[in-house]
């Protein structure tokens, strides 16, 4: 699996244009979609006007600094968004470049071909591609088979086979045919193809806000309104207070101070980073070579609590492995191992190789090289005999399915052998009987191999409240054995596509959100029904259309990572929201005493941070507020650290880090900035 090239976080190629874009995004027509930053911009505009027409109402240098930092606040937020978009765009540009301009040989009904530009192809058109030509549009192969280089979209250099009929008939525009010739029927109009949608999505061009983002925006807008009320009413209170405490208090509450207070209180941190978090979430999926059809799908992945995992390819490696030698009475294990190894020497299948390896590991038998035994005749496996083996020095050694070997040796197995075969079958393994005429030597136990690390991963998932269900065509008995070994919570044996769909519906009725992977056309209904359906890129067009994500690597195990990325996206959003809201406490304690102290020197103890002057206190809060946005950009783009733990534990940890941290950090941050501004630079 080759992931898209990981870029350094602050790649100069992206940072440069992003800085430019930050200024372009100052356009209010763009910014009003983000109420928090829009209010900040209006605040910055007002203090600018105050500066121009009123010379800052006396404190020119102070208002100038406040004004600059307010503009920086907006610019930093814009920069975060531009960075996220820039990273997406870089990926999209790479894709676009790989596509280039292509022509297609369109096949007319009468069988003649004409060369046309690729972009004129429409749904239903048929075209022909031969070796070393690029495929012009998304489509299904209707005739022929070919090896195709899909590295342009998957980053995987090994070619894949695509052929008419079956589940591997889909081809993607922009990929290249390496051998043979295929006839393709177009399934997507220009601009709607898989590649086009992918590019649009990564660029964030057609990004729609997700339901959760919309809900969060409402909350952020509400907080903004609340603080607007708080700040607007503060002036009358100051006027009232000046009626007995003198003008000092009224003079302290200037337009610039009120706007500084407002901008510090409204949730600028999350407001500024919200869209960057969303774009970065999709981008992280892309880096894993998973293409989500919408941001909504990424969020849904975080909510998933049931995973349907296909046995073959997802839970197990595709092939089986020899794990033990069971001898017939009177045969030593070494004899059996030697015979098994001998008859597997020419067997290049992974199963055959695993027998050689096991013999070597257990009895230190060095495999004899094939060319060292020229007198031998190798008997390859065939569908008729269902056995393979070797004839050497008059010996005839075979291994194969129990029935075949029984027929070959011509007599029934001993009770011990029959028991052993039975036991292996029941445990989900495959018994491979080894015989040397006329004796049965023993059985090799071939077993499904669970992918490394999966049982631990499933355990962690269970702790997070996500249950896993294995889907297999096997009989219930072996399925149960494998399910136990892999550590899945449940299994569906002898599963048909209809069973799968019914299972999804059942789980959903019980209030679960289900994710699954699929590739075949008959998976399409289930992929559509599932809350998160990850289609394999090698799958059919129907499967890809039905799912809401496509895995370009066609690695079903990645479903697990998809869920993790979804969760991480939501966590990042929550963490920064909590952090942003918790920050307010310190900002109150910086600004309010600063405003009051001129009129009421007695309230000095309220200035818990011991900030230098009122001006430096207010300025430091504003600077902190701006700087925190830029310093959290890496977190927004990378996402918070994901830990697969129970919700209660995750909540406690994150509340400690982002809630308590959000309370404490600004106290130190503002103090630090104040020392810099007041004591070191003497700016205020």
């Amino acid at each position: 699996m080759t992931h898209a090239k990981a870029r350094p976080l602050f790649d100069p190629e992206i940072v440069g244009p992003a800085i430019g874009a930050s200024f372009k995004k100052l356009n209010p027509a763009h910014l009003w979609k983000n109420p928090v930053m829009f209010v900040t911009e209006i605040g910055a505009a007002i203090t600018t006007l105050e500066l121009i027409f009123n010379r800052g109402g006396g404190g020119f240098i102070f208002v100038l600094q406040i004004t600059l930092w307010l503009w920086f606040t907006v610019l930093f937020a814009n920069f975060a968004e531009a960075m996220a978009e820039g990273r997406g765009k870089a990926h999209a540009d790479a894709l676009r470049k790989s596509r280039g301009k292509t022509v297609a040989r369109k096949l007319a009904r009468d069988g003649t071909t004409t060369t046309v530009p690729a972009e004129t192809l429409r749904k239903g058109d048929v075209f022909v591609v031969v070796a070393h030509e690029a495929i012009s549009a998304d489509g299904d192969i209707i005739a022929g088979a070919a090896t195709v280089d899909e590295s342009a979209i998957t980053g995987e250099s090994a070619p894949v086979i695509r052929e008419a009929g079956g589940d591997r008939s889909a081809v993607t525009g922009g990929t290249t045919v390496l051998s043979d010739e295929i006839t393709v029927r177009v399934t997507a109009n220009p601009g709607e193809s898989f590649m086009d949608r992918m590019i649009d999505l990564i660029e964030g061009a057609k990004r729609q806000r997700t339901p959760n983002e919309i809900a969060l925006s409402i909350l952020l807008s509400t907080l903004t309104m609340i603080f607007l009320i708080v700040c607007f009413t503060f002036k009358p209170f100051a006027i009232y207070t000046s009626s007995y405490a003198g003008e000092a208090i009224n003079l302290a509450v200037t337009v610039a101070v009120l706007i500084a207070l407002l901008v510090c209180l409204i949730p600028t941190t999350i407001g500024g980073l919200l869209s960057a978090i969303g774009i970065a979430g999709i981008d992280r999926m892309v880096q894993k070579n998973v293409l989500a059809m919408s941001g909504r799908a990424v969020e849904a992945a975080g909510d998933v609590d049931v995973l349907l995992l296909d046995k073959t390819g997802t839970i197990t490696l595709g092939n089986r492995r020899a794990v033990e030698f069971l001898t017939a009475p009177g045969v030593s294990e070494r004899e059996l191992a030697e015979a098994a190894q001998l008859c597997s020497l020419a067997d290049e299948t992974p199963e055959g190789r695993s027998i050689v390896v096991l013999a070597k590991e257990q009895y230190n038998m060095r495999a004899i090289e094939r060319h060292n035994i020229p007198r031998a005749t190798f008997v390859p496996f065939s569908a008729q005999t269902r056995m393979s083996g070797i004839d050497i020095d008059g010996r005839s050694v075979r291994k194969g399915a129990a029935d075949s070997v029984r027929a070959w040796v011509g007599h029934d197995f001993s009770n011990e052998m029959a028991d052993a075969i039975d036991r292996i079958s029941r445990s989900g393994g495959t018994p491979l009987v080894v015989a040397e005429t006329p004796h049965v030597l023993g059985v090799v136990h071939l077993k499904d191999v669970v992918k490394g690390g999966l049982p631990e991963r499933f355990t962690r998932f269970r702790a997070m409240g996500i249950s896993t269900i294995m889907i297999t065509g096997d009989n219930p008995l072996p399925a149960a054995a494998l399910a136990k070994e892999a550590g899945v919570d449940d299994f569906l044996a002898q599963a048909t596509p209809e069973d799968k769909l019914a299972l999804i519906r059942k789980e959903q009725r019980a209030g679960h959100l289900v994710a699954m992977t699929g590739d075949g056309t008959n998976d399409a209904p289930a992929l559509a029904q599932a809350d998160v359906g990850v289609a394999m890129n090698t799958g059919t067009q129907a499967a890809k259309e039905a799912g809401n994500m496509v895995d370009l690597d066609s690695n079903p195990t990645k479903l697990i990572e998809v869920v993790e990325i979804g969760k991480q996206l939501l966590m990042t959003r929550g963490a920064l929201t909590t952090f942003s809201v918790a920050n307010d406490v310190a900002k109150y304690f910086a600004i309010i005493p600063a405003v009051l102290v001129a009129a009421f020197p007695q309230i000095a103890p309220l200035n818990v941070m011991r900030l230098g002057t009122p001006a430096s206190a207010i300025l430091s809060a504003v600077i902190f507020n701006a700087v925190i946005i830029i310093s959290l950009v890496p977190l927004a783009l990378r996402g918070v650290k994901f830990r697969p733990l129970a919700a209660a534990v995750v909540l406690r940890q994150n509340l400690l880090v982002y809630g308590l941290g959000g309370l404490i950090v600004p106290f130190f941050g503002i103090k630090f900035i104040d020392v810099l501004v007041h004591n070191v630079l003497h700016l205020a």
Binding site: P211, T233, P236, L596, L606
Partner: protein, 582 residues
Amino acid sequence: MTAVSWMQLLLILGAVVLMTKPLGVYLVHVLDPEEEGGTFLEPVMGPVERLIYRVLRVQPSRGQTWIQYTVSVLTFSALTAVVTYVLLRLQDKLPLNPQNLPAVTPHLAFNTAVSFVTNTNWQSYGGESTMSYFSQMVALVMHHFFSAAAGIAIAAALVRGIARTRGKTIGNFWRDMTRLILHLLLPLALVYAVFLVWTGDPQNFMPYSVLTTVDQSTAASATEAAQETIAQGPIASMISIKMIGTNGGGYMNANSAHPFENANALGNYVQMVIFIWIASALTYYLGRMVRNQRHGWAVWSAMFAVMLAGILVCWYAETAGNPLVHAAGVAVAPGNMEGKEVRFGVFNSATWAAMTTATTCGAVNSMHDSFTPLGGLVPLINMQLGEVIFGGVGSGLYGMLVFVFVAIFIAGLMIGRTPEYLGKKIEARDVKLASLFVLVTCFAVLVPTAWASVSDWGMAGLNNNGPRGLGEILYYFSSASGNNGSAFAGLTTNTPWYNTLGGIVILVGRYFMIIPVLALAGSLVQKRAVAQSAGSFPVSGGTFVVLLVSTILIVGALTFFPVLALSPVVEHFLMHGGSMTF
């Protein structure tokens, strides 16, 4: 802060803890007899109940959608408010008026009707000098029952919205009201009234007694003996429901500081427990209905923690007293005894003040305006939190649940899932409704206070200027918005401006919260419930309680920090800095 006082505190809080579950279970029987059967009063009240349904033409088994429920609440409130208005206006023509009190003026009748129908019970009048026995017993006490029942009914509707899935209806308002009054409020009020009579509250229809005082030094002339009029009447029956229903609208002008409304230490103790009882039990009702008792207790714990903190701060501040007074050597007792009943002292006054503002009871046994700045800050904040620290019967729970929503929405994402509350996904519409609720408190308190503080009509009512004056205005609108009804005094609010604006704030504080809450119930009831697992947001346990309390303090209280800084906070520093400010 003596050992005896600590023990009293323990007795109050201990009683609240012990009494929560029994009444909580009983509430399920009252409100949702389908769940666990009816109440033990069914044989007695059943026939009455059915009669009421027949007269009102109500089909009790037919549930209402949130819109129908809201329309019922509003219709019922409007009608009963009109009835009260008319009865007060016709007071002179109605029976049981031994003092021949005149009809209540239109202005005051309106203010009173609005204030009582909303469970606020702001009283711009002195009860014994304005209201006839009939007015007290019918026009006013009626709302003690109705407004309390309506609050509980709405809370129950919201809880049903949470507990039910893929439904449409959230209960039947008319049935909820009928059952709450017949099975809960009437029996409780009856028993408690008898207790009050026993402790010494009067319950009669006699004219006020005119007595010649022993001390004749105040006699106007040598021929006329100095006399004193002792007001009385059907007091116990009013006080009992005044406390049970967190109404707070008392019989006497002096409210619970008057010996006829609050006879002795035992009576005072029981009242404090009683006015928090139903609000506390409703958290158990919540847990029972959503089948998660730990959640019910978590909500309870959050309320309890904030209330306890308030009690301790207020008690501490009042015990410490005013250093200026102590320095002057004029204090006769330890602590700040100004405006406090000597029968109750600092502890019982401070604790009562914290509890009566944490709940929307609003009954007072001391003058809150005479509290030290910090002592007075506690009642202010309690009300500004939106009256969710136990709060009013019903209104406290539904307000708290809105904060639960906000808390889960803010922090819930951190577990990596779309926020969900007990399996219900919190979506844009729900956030909108919860936001409206939070916005209303902030708006309804700050904007009128700001207006009053810079306008002539606002300043005209002030008896104190300086930070205390701002605090008084702030208290008035906080009390109105929170539907608390307690007064800081010191502010003359019986003016057209204050009465009108106060009346509007009261209505906004009640109905602009009820409507979003019922809409929220309607939104929740339709949702399917996501299965609960280890991956679900934990709505119980210490983390959740801390989260909820933090949300209440940061989202609820911090918005008032700037204005509080200019009133009690600055006053506190001035006082300790040696300036006399009040």
